[in-house]
Protein backbone atom coordinates (compact mmCIF):
# COMPACT_ATOMS: atom_id res chain seq x y z
CA UNK A 1 0.00 0.00 0.00
CA UNK A 2 1.75 3.13 1.21
CA UNK A 3 5.18 1.58 0.93
CA UNK A 4 4.66 0.24 -2.57
CA UNK A 5 3.29 3.50 -3.89
CA UNK A 6 6.12 5.60 -2.55
CA UNK A 7 8.90 3.27 -3.76
CA UNK A 8 10.21 2.93 -0.21
CA UNK A 9 12.14 -0.32 -0.54
CA UNK A 10 13.41 0.29 -4.07
CA UNK A 11 15.12 3.54 -3.08
CA UNK A 12 18.86 3.12 -2.75
CA UNK A 13 19.36 5.63 0.09
CA UNK A 14 16.56 3.90 1.99
CA UNK A 15 18.22 0.51 1.56
CA UNK A 16 21.54 1.86 2.83
CA UNK A 17 19.81 3.60 5.72
CA UNK A 18 17.97 0.41 6.63
CA UNK A 19 21.17 -1.67 6.67
CA UNK A 20 23.26 0.85 8.64
CA UNK A 21 20.33 1.61 10.94
CA UNK A 22 19.80 -2.07 11.64
CA UNK A 23 23.49 -2.45 12.50
CA UNK A 24 23.29 0.55 14.83
CA UNK A 25 20.17 -0.75 16.59
CA UNK A 26 21.61 -4.23 17.11
CA UNK A 27 25.09 -3.27 18.33
CA UNK A 28 23.78 -0.53 20.61
CA UNK A 29 21.35 -3.01 22.18
CA UNK A 30 24.10 -5.51 22.90
CA UNK A 31 26.67 -3.11 24.31
CA UNK A 32 24.10 -0.72 25.80
CA UNK A 33 22.86 -3.26 28.35
CA UNK A 34 26.39 -3.80 29.67
CA UNK A 35 27.16 -0.09 29.58
CA UNK A 36 24.16 0.70 31.76
CA UNK A 37 24.74 -2.21 34.14
CA UNK A 38 28.29 -1.06 34.70
CA UNK A 39 27.04 2.45 35.43
CA UNK A 40 28.89 3.68 32.36
CA UNK A 41 26.08 5.57 30.62
CA UNK A 42 27.89 8.88 30.98
CA UNK A 43 31.08 7.40 29.49
CA UNK A 44 29.04 6.10 26.57
CA UNK A 45 27.53 9.52 26.01
CA UNK A 46 30.99 11.13 26.21
CA UNK A 47 32.52 8.68 23.73
CA UNK A 48 29.74 9.47 21.29
CA UNK A 49 30.16 13.23 21.68
CA UNK A 50 33.93 13.07 21.37
CA UNK A 51 33.67 10.89 18.28
CA UNK A 52 32.22 13.96 16.54
CA UNK A 53 35.78 15.33 16.42
CA UNK A 54 36.78 12.27 14.42
CA UNK A 55 33.80 12.63 12.13
CA UNK A 56 34.65 16.29 11.55
CA UNK A 57 38.31 15.46 10.91
CA UNK A 58 37.33 12.81 8.38
CA UNK A 59 35.59 15.47 6.26
CA UNK A 60 38.75 17.56 6.44
CA UNK A 61 41.07 14.70 5.51
CA UNK A 62 38.70 13.06 3.07
CA UNK A 63 38.80 9.70 4.84
CA UNK A 64 36.05 7.23 5.69
CA UNK A 65 33.85 8.93 8.34
CA UNK A 66 33.28 5.61 10.14
CA UNK A 67 37.04 5.39 10.71
CA UNK A 68 37.01 8.98 11.91
CA UNK A 69 34.27 8.35 14.46
CA UNK A 70 35.88 5.08 15.55
CA UNK A 71 39.41 6.49 15.84
CA UNK A 72 38.31 9.37 18.04
CA UNK A 73 36.03 7.15 20.16
CA UNK A 74 38.89 4.75 20.82
CA UNK A 75 41.34 7.55 21.63
CA UNK A 76 38.77 8.89 24.09
CA UNK A 77 38.24 5.40 25.55
CA UNK A 78 41.97 4.96 26.13
CA UNK A 79 42.13 8.46 27.58
CA UNK A 80 39.38 7.71 30.10
CA UNK A 81 40.90 4.36 31.02
CA UNK A 82 44.32 5.98 31.41
CA UNK A 83 43.05 8.86 33.55
CA UNK A 84 41.36 6.38 35.86
CA UNK A 85 37.97 4.74 35.73
CA UNK A 86 38.13 2.65 38.89
CA UNK A 87 36.04 4.68 41.28
CA UNK A 88 32.78 6.13 40.10
CA UNK A 89 33.74 9.67 41.02
CA UNK A 90 37.15 9.44 39.32
CA UNK A 91 35.47 7.91 36.33
CA UNK A 92 33.03 10.79 35.98
CA UNK A 93 35.87 13.25 36.36
CA UNK A 94 38.06 11.53 33.75
CA UNK A 95 35.07 11.24 31.43
CA UNK A 96 34.20 14.91 31.81
CA UNK A 97 37.75 16.03 31.14
CA UNK A 98 38.12 13.86 28.04
CA UNK A 99 34.68 15.02 26.86
CA UNK A 100 35.67 18.69 27.14
CA UNK A 101 38.95 18.22 25.29
CA UNK A 102 37.28 16.16 22.56
CA UNK A 103 34.50 18.66 21.93
CA UNK A 104 37.14 21.40 21.67
CA UNK A 105 38.77 19.48 18.83
CA UNK A 106 35.36 18.96 17.31
CA UNK A 107 34.73 22.73 17.32
CA UNK A 108 38.06 23.32 15.60
CA UNK A 109 37.62 20.66 12.94
CA UNK A 110 34.05 21.70 12.14
CA UNK A 111 35.20 25.30 11.82
CA UNK A 112 37.96 24.21 9.43
CA UNK A 113 35.49 22.02 7.53
CA UNK A 114 33.26 24.99 6.86
CA UNK A 115 36.02 27.48 6.08
CA UNK A 116 38.53 25.43 4.06
CA UNK A 117 36.21 23.04 2.26
CA UNK A 118 32.79 23.94 1.02
CA UNK A 119 30.97 21.20 2.95
CA UNK A 120 28.45 23.37 4.76
CA UNK A 121 26.41 20.32 5.68
CA UNK A 122 29.31 18.75 7.55
CA UNK A 123 28.38 20.07 10.99
CA UNK A 124 24.78 18.88 10.85
CA UNK A 125 25.79 15.58 9.30
CA UNK A 126 28.48 14.83 11.91
CA UNK A 127 26.51 16.00 14.92
CA UNK A 128 22.98 14.92 14.02
CA UNK A 129 23.43 12.44 11.18
CA UNK A 130 21.83 12.31 7.78
CA UNK A 131 20.81 8.74 7.26
CA UNK A 132 19.62 9.07 3.67
CA UNK A 133 23.00 10.56 2.70
CA UNK A 134 25.16 7.65 3.87
CA UNK A 135 27.23 6.47 0.89
CA UNK A 136 26.74 2.84 -0.10
CA UNK A 137 30.47 2.27 0.26
CA UNK A 138 30.09 2.56 4.06
CA UNK A 139 27.83 -0.48 4.34
CA UNK A 140 30.80 -2.85 4.34
CA UNK A 141 32.75 -1.04 7.09
CA UNK A 142 29.59 -0.68 9.17
CA UNK A 143 28.98 -4.43 8.95
CA UNK A 144 32.59 -5.17 9.93
CA UNK A 145 32.43 -2.82 12.94
CA UNK A 146 29.15 -4.41 14.02
CA UNK A 147 30.62 -7.90 13.71
CA UNK A 148 33.48 -6.70 15.93
CA UNK A 149 31.02 -5.69 18.66
CA UNK A 150 29.22 -9.03 18.48
CA UNK A 151 32.51 -10.92 18.59
CA UNK A 152 33.85 -9.01 21.62
CA UNK A 153 30.61 -9.21 23.58
CA UNK A 154 30.03 -12.84 22.62
CA UNK A 155 33.49 -13.76 23.83
CA UNK A 156 33.39 -11.75 27.06
CA UNK A 157 29.68 -12.11 27.83
CA UNK A 158 30.02 -13.84 31.20
CA UNK A 159 33.05 -12.01 32.64
CA UNK A 160 31.51 -8.71 31.53
CA UNK A 161 28.23 -9.62 33.18
CA UNK A 162 29.88 -10.66 36.45
CA UNK A 163 32.02 -7.50 36.47
CA UNK A 164 28.95 -5.36 35.83
CA UNK A 165 27.02 -7.08 38.61
CA UNK A 166 29.77 -6.80 41.23
CA UNK A 167 33.45 -6.02 40.52
CA UNK A 168 34.56 -7.64 43.80
CA UNK A 169 32.99 -10.97 42.85
CA UNK A 170 34.69 -10.78 39.45
CA UNK A 171 38.10 -9.94 40.91
CA UNK A 172 37.85 -12.88 43.31
CA UNK A 173 37.40 -15.14 40.29
CA UNK A 174 40.66 -13.94 38.79
CA UNK A 175 38.97 -11.72 36.20
CA UNK A 176 41.12 -8.71 35.35
CA UNK A 177 38.87 -5.70 35.86
CA UNK A 178 41.26 -3.53 33.89
CA UNK A 179 41.16 -5.74 30.79
CA UNK A 180 37.43 -6.27 30.91
CA UNK A 181 36.90 -2.53 31.31
CA UNK A 182 39.18 -1.71 28.40
CA UNK A 183 37.76 -4.33 26.04
CA UNK A 184 34.25 -3.22 26.90
CA UNK A 185 35.18 0.38 26.07
CA UNK A 186 36.67 -0.79 22.75
CA UNK A 187 33.41 -2.57 21.90
CA UNK A 188 31.53 0.55 23.00
CA UNK A 189 33.74 2.62 20.68
CA UNK A 190 32.83 0.41 17.73
CA UNK A 191 29.13 0.68 18.56
CA UNK A 192 29.43 4.45 18.98
CA UNK A 193 31.01 4.76 15.52
CA UNK A 194 28.18 2.83 13.86
CA UNK A 195 25.52 4.80 15.75
CA UNK A 196 27.24 8.13 15.05
CA UNK A 197 27.33 7.29 11.35
CA UNK A 198 23.63 6.50 11.46
CA UNK A 199 22.09 9.25 13.59
CA UNK A 200 25.01 11.57 14.35
CA UNK A 201 27.55 11.75 17.14
CA UNK A 202 25.46 13.85 19.51
CA UNK A 203 22.31 11.80 19.10
CA UNK A 204 24.07 8.41 19.19
CA UNK A 205 23.56 8.34 22.96
CA UNK A 206 19.82 8.02 22.47
CA UNK A 207 20.24 4.75 20.64
CA UNK A 208 23.06 3.49 22.89
CA UNK A 209 21.30 4.11 26.18
CA UNK A 210 17.58 4.43 25.45
CA UNK A 211 16.52 1.00 24.19
CA UNK A 212 18.82 -0.78 26.67
CA UNK A 213 17.57 1.39 29.52
CA UNK A 214 13.97 0.61 28.64
CA UNK A 215 14.71 -3.10 28.19
CA UNK A 216 16.45 -3.42 31.55
CA UNK A 217 13.32 -2.22 33.30
CA UNK A 218 11.24 -4.85 31.54
CA UNK A 219 13.49 -7.88 31.97
CA UNK A 220 14.43 -10.38 34.61
CA UNK A 221 17.32 -11.95 32.75
CA UNK A 222 20.32 -10.48 30.91
CA UNK A 223 19.55 -12.26 27.62
CA UNK A 224 15.95 -11.06 27.85
CA UNK A 225 17.16 -7.49 28.33
CA UNK A 226 19.35 -7.71 25.23
CA UNK A 227 16.46 -9.16 23.22
CA UNK A 228 14.10 -6.35 24.24
CA UNK A 229 16.75 -3.71 23.61
CA UNK A 230 17.19 -5.08 20.09
CA UNK A 231 13.44 -5.16 19.50
CA UNK A 232 12.96 -1.59 20.74
CA UNK A 233 16.00 -0.29 18.83
CA UNK A 234 14.97 -1.95 15.58
CA UNK A 235 11.39 -0.75 15.86
CA UNK A 236 12.57 2.79 16.52
CA UNK A 237 15.07 2.81 13.65
CA UNK A 238 12.88 1.12 11.04
CA UNK A 239 9.86 3.17 12.03
CA UNK A 240 11.91 6.37 11.87
CA UNK A 241 13.33 5.64 8.42
CA UNK A 242 9.84 5.02 7.14
CA UNK A 243 8.40 8.12 8.82
CA UNK A 244 11.22 10.33 7.61
CA UNK A 245 10.72 9.02 4.09
CA UNK A 246 6.98 9.56 4.25
CA UNK A 247 7.35 12.96 5.92
CA UNK A 248 8.35 14.26 2.49
CA UNK A 249 4.69 13.91 1.55
CA UNK A 250 3.33 14.93 4.96
CA UNK A 251 5.10 18.27 4.98
CA UNK A 252 4.78 19.01 1.27
CA UNK A 253 8.32 18.36 0.17
CA UNK A 254 10.11 19.08 3.44
CA UNK A 255 11.28 15.70 4.78
CA UNK A 256 12.21 15.75 8.46
CA UNK A 257 15.51 14.14 9.52
CA UNK A 258 15.52 10.45 10.46
CA UNK A 259 17.53 11.22 13.60
CA UNK A 260 14.70 13.30 15.01
CA UNK A 261 12.26 10.42 14.66
CA UNK A 262 14.73 7.90 16.14
CA UNK A 263 15.37 10.00 19.22
CA UNK A 264 11.67 10.75 19.70
CA UNK A 265 10.59 7.14 19.32
CA UNK A 266 13.32 5.91 21.68
CA UNK A 267 12.18 8.46 24.24
CA UNK A 268 8.56 7.34 23.92
CA UNK A 269 9.58 3.69 24.25
CA UNK A 270 11.56 4.52 27.38
CA UNK A 271 8.61 6.33 28.95
CA UNK A 272 6.34 3.41 28.09
CA UNK A 273 8.79 0.94 29.62
CA UNK A 274 8.97 2.95 32.84
CA UNK A 275 5.18 3.01 33.04
CA UNK A 276 4.82 -0.69 32.20
CA UNK A 277 7.44 -1.62 34.79
CA UNK A 278 5.59 0.46 37.39
CA UNK A 279 2.20 -1.00 36.60
CA UNK A 280 3.47 -4.57 36.48
CA UNK A 281 5.47 -3.99 39.66
CA UNK A 282 8.63 -5.36 38.06
CA UNK A 283 10.85 -3.09 40.10
CA UNK A 284 8.83 -3.23 43.27
CA UNK A 285 10.04 -5.19 46.25
CA UNK A 286 8.19 -8.46 46.73
CA UNK A 287 6.95 -9.55 50.11
CA UNK A 288 9.75 -10.92 52.27
CA UNK A 289 10.28 -14.66 52.44
CA UNK A 290 10.47 -16.09 55.93
CA UNK A 291 13.48 -18.22 56.81
CA UNK A 292 12.47 -21.88 56.65
CA UNK A 293 13.93 -22.80 60.01
CA UNK A 294 12.18 -19.90 61.70
CA UNK A 295 8.81 -21.30 60.71
CA UNK A 296 9.59 -24.66 62.29
Amino acid sequence: MLLENSGFFSSEPVQTALIVGTCAALVSAVIGVFTILRGNAFAGHALADVSSAGGAASFLLGINPLLGFLGMAWIAAFGMEFLGVRKVRERDLATGIVLGAGLGLSALFLYLDVTTTSTTGAAVSVMFGSMFAIPQSLIGPALVASAGVFLLVGLLYRPMMLTAVDPDLAAARGISLRWIGLLQLLALGLAVAVCALAIGAVLATALLIGPAGAAIRLSRRPAQAIFWAMAIGLTAVWGSIWMAYESYYWFSGNAWPVSFFVVTLVFLFYLTAVLVAKVMGLSARQKPVIWPHCEA
Partner: protein
Protein backbone atom coordinates in the same frame (compact mmCIF):
# COMPACT_ATOMS: atom_id res chain seq x y z
CA UNK B 1 42.50 -35.65 60.76
CA UNK B 2 42.85 -34.87 57.06
CA UNK B 3 45.20 -32.23 55.68
CA UNK B 4 44.31 -28.60 56.31
CA UNK B 5 42.38 -26.83 53.54
CA UNK B 6 44.03 -23.58 54.47
CA UNK B 7 47.47 -23.30 55.95
CA UNK B 8 48.80 -19.85 56.78
CA UNK B 9 52.35 -19.80 58.11
CA UNK B 10 54.30 -16.75 59.29
CA UNK B 11 52.49 -14.56 56.79
CA UNK B 12 53.61 -10.93 56.60
CA UNK B 13 52.15 -8.38 54.21
CA UNK B 14 53.26 -4.83 53.49
CA UNK B 15 51.14 -2.30 51.66
CA UNK B 16 52.64 0.97 50.44
CA UNK B 17 55.67 0.53 52.70
CA UNK B 18 53.52 -0.03 55.79
CA UNK B 19 53.49 -3.34 57.59
CA UNK B 20 49.88 -4.53 57.62
CA UNK B 21 50.22 -8.16 58.73
CA UNK B 22 53.05 -9.57 60.83
CA UNK B 23 53.80 -13.25 61.27
CA UNK B 24 50.24 -14.57 61.10
CA UNK B 25 49.88 -18.36 61.35
CA UNK B 26 46.85 -20.64 61.50
CA UNK B 27 45.45 -23.81 59.93
CA UNK B 28 41.89 -24.54 58.95
CA UNK B 29 40.51 -28.04 58.39
CA UNK B 30 37.45 -29.26 56.44
CA UNK B 31 34.28 -29.01 58.48
CA UNK B 32 35.62 -26.20 60.63
CA UNK B 33 34.34 -22.67 60.94
CA UNK B 34 36.94 -20.08 61.81
CA UNK B 35 36.13 -16.53 62.87
CA UNK B 36 38.57 -13.78 61.98
CA UNK B 37 37.97 -11.12 64.60
CA UNK B 38 39.43 -7.65 64.64
CA UNK B 39 38.61 -3.97 64.59
CA UNK B 40 38.76 -1.70 61.56
CA UNK B 41 42.35 -1.50 60.33
CA UNK B 42 43.44 -4.67 62.13
CA UNK B 43 44.28 -6.28 58.78
CA UNK B 44 41.26 -8.52 58.21
CA UNK B 45 40.60 -7.45 54.65
CA UNK B 46 44.31 -7.61 53.76
CA UNK B 47 44.46 -11.16 55.09
CA UNK B 48 41.43 -12.13 53.01
CA UNK B 49 42.91 -10.52 49.90
CA UNK B 50 46.11 -12.55 50.33
CA UNK B 51 44.04 -15.71 50.66
CA UNK B 52 42.29 -14.81 47.40
CA UNK B 53 45.66 -14.26 45.73
CA UNK B 54 44.89 -10.57 45.16
CA UNK B 55 47.65 -9.17 47.40
CA UNK B 56 51.29 -10.29 47.40
CA UNK B 57 52.96 -11.07 50.72
CA UNK B 58 56.42 -10.12 51.92
CA UNK B 59 57.26 -13.37 53.66
CA UNK B 60 55.68 -16.56 54.92
CA UNK B 61 53.06 -18.45 52.97
CA UNK B 62 49.32 -18.95 52.54
CA UNK B 63 48.61 -22.39 51.10
CA UNK B 64 45.22 -23.62 49.98
CA UNK B 65 45.15 -27.37 49.59
CA UNK B 66 48.95 -27.33 49.57
CA UNK B 67 49.47 -24.72 46.84
CA UNK B 68 49.78 -20.91 46.75
CA UNK B 69 46.44 -19.13 46.89
CA UNK B 70 46.57 -17.66 43.39
CA UNK B 71 46.78 -21.17 41.91
CA UNK B 72 43.80 -22.43 43.88
CA UNK B 73 41.09 -19.91 43.04
CA UNK B 74 38.76 -22.68 41.93
CA UNK B 75 38.74 -24.07 45.49
CA UNK B 76 37.78 -20.79 47.13
CA UNK B 77 34.33 -19.26 47.32
CA UNK B 78 34.23 -15.59 48.25
CA UNK B 79 31.42 -13.43 49.61
CA UNK B 80 32.48 -9.77 49.61
CA UNK B 81 31.48 -7.11 52.08
CA UNK B 82 28.71 -4.62 51.35
CA UNK B 83 26.64 -6.39 48.78
CA UNK B 84 23.98 -4.14 47.33
CA UNK B 85 22.56 -4.95 43.92
CA UNK B 86 20.89 -2.27 41.90
CA UNK B 87 17.11 -2.82 41.93
CA UNK B 88 17.05 -2.60 38.13
CA UNK B 89 19.71 -5.21 37.36
CA UNK B 90 18.01 -7.75 35.08
CA UNK B 91 19.44 -10.74 36.91
CA UNK B 92 17.55 -13.42 38.82
CA UNK B 93 19.01 -15.06 41.89
CA UNK B 94 19.42 -18.16 39.77
CA UNK B 95 21.44 -16.22 37.14
CA UNK B 96 23.75 -14.84 39.82
CA UNK B 97 24.35 -18.34 41.13
CA UNK B 98 25.07 -19.58 37.63
CA UNK B 99 27.65 -16.82 37.16
CA UNK B 100 29.35 -18.37 40.18
CA UNK B 101 29.77 -21.50 38.12
CA UNK B 102 30.92 -20.05 34.82
CA UNK B 103 31.30 -16.27 35.24
CA UNK B 104 35.00 -16.39 34.42
CA UNK B 105 34.59 -18.36 31.20
CA UNK B 106 34.68 -16.97 27.68
CA UNK B 107 31.88 -17.40 25.18
CA UNK B 108 28.12 -17.43 25.56
CA UNK B 109 26.33 -19.48 28.24
CA UNK B 110 24.64 -21.98 25.93
CA UNK B 111 24.71 -25.49 27.39
CA UNK B 112 22.99 -25.52 30.73
CA UNK B 113 21.97 -29.17 31.25
CA UNK B 114 24.20 -30.23 34.13
CA UNK B 115 24.65 -26.70 35.39
CA UNK B 116 21.00 -26.30 36.27
CA UNK B 117 21.22 -29.17 38.75
CA UNK B 118 24.28 -27.63 40.40
CA UNK B 119 22.59 -24.23 40.58
CA UNK B 120 19.46 -25.76 42.14
CA UNK B 121 21.62 -27.60 44.64
CA UNK B 122 23.39 -24.39 45.70
CA UNK B 123 20.07 -22.53 45.96
CA UNK B 124 18.73 -25.33 48.14
CA UNK B 125 21.80 -25.26 50.38
CA UNK B 126 21.17 -21.63 51.33
CA UNK B 127 17.39 -21.96 51.55
CA UNK B 128 16.94 -19.66 48.57
CA UNK B 129 14.55 -21.65 46.38
CA UNK B 130 11.69 -19.36 47.33
CA UNK B 131 13.32 -16.36 45.65
CA UNK B 132 15.33 -18.16 42.97
CA UNK B 133 13.40 -16.51 40.15
CA UNK B 134 13.24 -13.05 41.66
CA UNK B 135 15.59 -10.28 40.57
CA UNK B 136 18.52 -9.97 42.97
CA UNK B 137 17.88 -6.24 43.35
CA UNK B 138 14.42 -6.96 44.76
CA UNK B 139 15.72 -9.11 47.62
CA UNK B 140 16.25 -8.01 51.21
CA UNK B 141 19.78 -7.59 52.53
CA UNK B 142 19.80 -11.04 54.13
CA UNK B 143 18.44 -12.65 50.99
CA UNK B 144 21.05 -10.93 48.82
CA UNK B 145 23.69 -12.27 51.19
CA UNK B 146 22.38 -15.80 50.79
CA UNK B 147 22.22 -15.38 47.01
CA UNK B 148 25.90 -14.45 46.99
CA UNK B 149 26.73 -17.37 49.29
CA UNK B 150 25.02 -19.67 46.79
CA UNK B 151 27.05 -17.96 44.03
CA UNK B 152 30.19 -18.81 46.00
CA UNK B 153 29.08 -22.36 46.89
CA UNK B 154 27.98 -23.52 43.47
CA UNK B 155 31.48 -24.46 42.35
CA UNK B 156 31.73 -26.65 45.43
CA UNK B 157 34.69 -24.84 46.98
CA UNK B 158 36.73 -26.37 49.80
CA UNK B 159 37.14 -23.00 51.46
CA UNK B 160 34.36 -20.42 51.81
CA UNK B 161 35.41 -16.89 52.78
CA UNK B 162 32.89 -14.30 53.98
CA UNK B 163 33.90 -10.69 54.61
CA UNK B 164 31.81 -9.10 57.38
CA UNK B 165 28.62 -10.96 56.46
CA UNK B 166 26.85 -9.87 59.63
CA UNK B 167 27.35 -6.14 59.11
CA UNK B 168 24.17 -4.41 57.93
CA UNK B 169 21.92 -7.30 58.97
CA UNK B 170 19.22 -7.04 61.62
CA UNK B 171 19.46 -9.43 64.60
CA UNK B 172 17.03 -11.94 63.14
CA UNK B 173 18.75 -12.16 59.76
CA UNK B 174 22.17 -12.25 61.42
CA UNK B 175 21.19 -15.16 63.68
CA UNK B 176 19.66 -17.02 60.76
CA UNK B 177 22.83 -16.47 58.72
CA UNK B 178 25.00 -17.79 61.55
CA UNK B 179 22.82 -20.91 61.74
CA UNK B 180 23.13 -21.31 57.98
CA UNK B 181 26.93 -21.01 58.11
CA UNK B 182 27.11 -23.63 60.87
CA UNK B 183 24.91 -25.98 58.87
CA UNK B 184 26.93 -25.48 55.67
CA UNK B 185 30.20 -26.14 57.49
CA UNK B 186 28.96 -29.46 58.84
CA UNK B 187 26.85 -30.77 55.97
CA UNK B 188 29.18 -29.77 53.12
CA UNK B 189 32.38 -30.50 55.07
CA UNK B 190 33.96 -27.29 53.84
CA UNK B 191 36.22 -24.91 55.71
CA UNK B 192 34.55 -21.56 56.40
CA UNK B 193 36.37 -18.35 57.29
CA UNK B 194 34.20 -15.46 58.52
CA UNK B 195 35.40 -11.98 59.45
CA UNK B 196 33.57 -9.92 62.05
CA UNK B 197 34.07 -7.04 64.45
CA UNK B 198 32.26 -8.84 67.23
CA UNK B 199 32.80 -12.52 67.99
CA UNK B 200 29.59 -12.96 70.00
CA UNK B 201 27.10 -13.74 67.23
CA UNK B 202 29.47 -16.40 65.87
CA UNK B 203 30.29 -18.10 69.19
CA UNK B 204 27.67 -20.88 68.81
CA UNK B 205 29.15 -22.14 65.52
CA UNK B 206 32.80 -21.16 65.80
CA UNK B 207 35.44 -23.92 65.96
CA UNK B 208 38.46 -21.71 65.81
CA UNK B 209 39.33 -18.07 66.24
CA UNK B 210 41.93 -15.80 64.69
CA UNK B 211 42.07 -12.64 66.78
CA UNK B 212 43.80 -9.83 64.88
CA UNK B 213 45.14 -6.72 66.58
CA UNK B 214 47.28 -4.28 64.65
CA UNK B 215 48.40 -6.89 62.13
CA UNK B 216 49.32 -9.57 64.67
CA UNK B 217 47.20 -12.58 65.47
CA UNK B 218 46.43 -14.98 68.29
CA UNK B 219 44.89 -18.20 67.02
CA UNK B 220 43.28 -21.27 68.52
CA UNK B 221 39.99 -22.19 70.11
CA UNK B 222 37.93 -19.53 71.87
CA UNK B 223 39.08 -20.92 75.24
CA UNK B 224 42.72 -20.68 74.22
CA UNK B 225 42.63 -17.23 72.65
CA UNK B 226 40.16 -15.20 74.64
CA UNK B 227 42.21 -15.11 77.82
CA UNK B 228 43.42 -11.95 79.58
CA UNK B 229 47.11 -12.85 79.31
CA UNK B 230 46.97 -13.81 75.62
CA UNK B 231 45.01 -10.74 74.59
CA UNK B 232 46.94 -8.35 76.83
CA UNK B 233 50.11 -9.46 75.08
CA UNK B 234 48.46 -8.97 71.69
CA UNK B 235 47.05 -5.52 72.48
CA UNK B 236 50.24 -4.44 74.22
CA UNK B 237 48.31 -3.23 77.25
CA UNK B 238 46.36 -5.03 79.95
CA UNK B 239 42.83 -6.07 79.03
CA UNK B 240 40.10 -7.83 80.92
CA UNK B 241 37.86 -10.56 79.55
CA UNK B 242 34.35 -10.50 80.89
CA UNK B 243 32.01 -13.47 80.44
CA UNK B 244 28.33 -13.06 80.94
CA UNK B 245 26.29 -16.13 80.16
CA UNK B 246 27.39 -17.08 76.66
CA UNK B 247 28.64 -13.58 75.89
CA UNK B 248 32.23 -12.40 75.92
CA UNK B 249 33.42 -8.84 76.24
CA UNK B 250 37.03 -7.72 75.92
CA UNK B 251 37.81 -4.38 77.54
CA UNK B 252 40.93 -2.35 78.28
CA UNK B 253 41.64 -2.54 82.01
CA UNK B 254 40.88 1.02 83.06
CA UNK B 255 37.29 0.63 81.89
CA UNK B 256 36.99 -2.97 83.00
CA UNK B 257 37.60 -2.26 86.67
CA UNK B 258 34.28 -0.47 86.91
CA UNK B 259 32.59 -3.08 84.76
CA UNK B 260 33.83 -5.89 87.01
CA UNK B 261 31.94 -4.52 89.94
CA UNK B 262 28.93 -4.53 87.68
CA UNK B 263 29.15 -8.26 87.00
CA UNK B 264 30.00 -8.92 90.64
CA UNK B 265 26.77 -7.29 91.67
CA UNK B 266 24.97 -9.12 88.84
CA UNK B 267 23.89 -6.06 87.01
CA UNK B 268 22.91 -7.38 83.56
CA UNK B 269 25.17 -4.98 81.77
CA UNK B 270 27.85 -6.56 79.55
CA UNK B 271 26.27 -6.42 76.14
CA UNK B 272 28.76 -5.02 73.76
CA UNK B 273 27.44 -1.79 72.37
CA UNK B 274 28.38 -2.61 68.79
Amino acid sequence: MSDPVLSVAHLSVDLGGRSILRNVSFDLYPGQLCALIGENGAGKTTLLRSLLGLTAHRSGQALIDGAPADQRRALVGYVPQKIAFDPDVPLRTRDLVQLGLDGHRLGLPLFLGRKKALVDQALHAVWAEAFADQRVGELSGGQQQRAVIAHALVRQPRLLILDEPLANLDFGSANALVTLLGTLTRTQQIAVLVTAHDMNPLLPVMDRLVYLVGGQAATGSVEEVVQPDVLSKLYGYPVTVLRHGRRILVLPDAVAEDAETCTASHVPHPEKAD
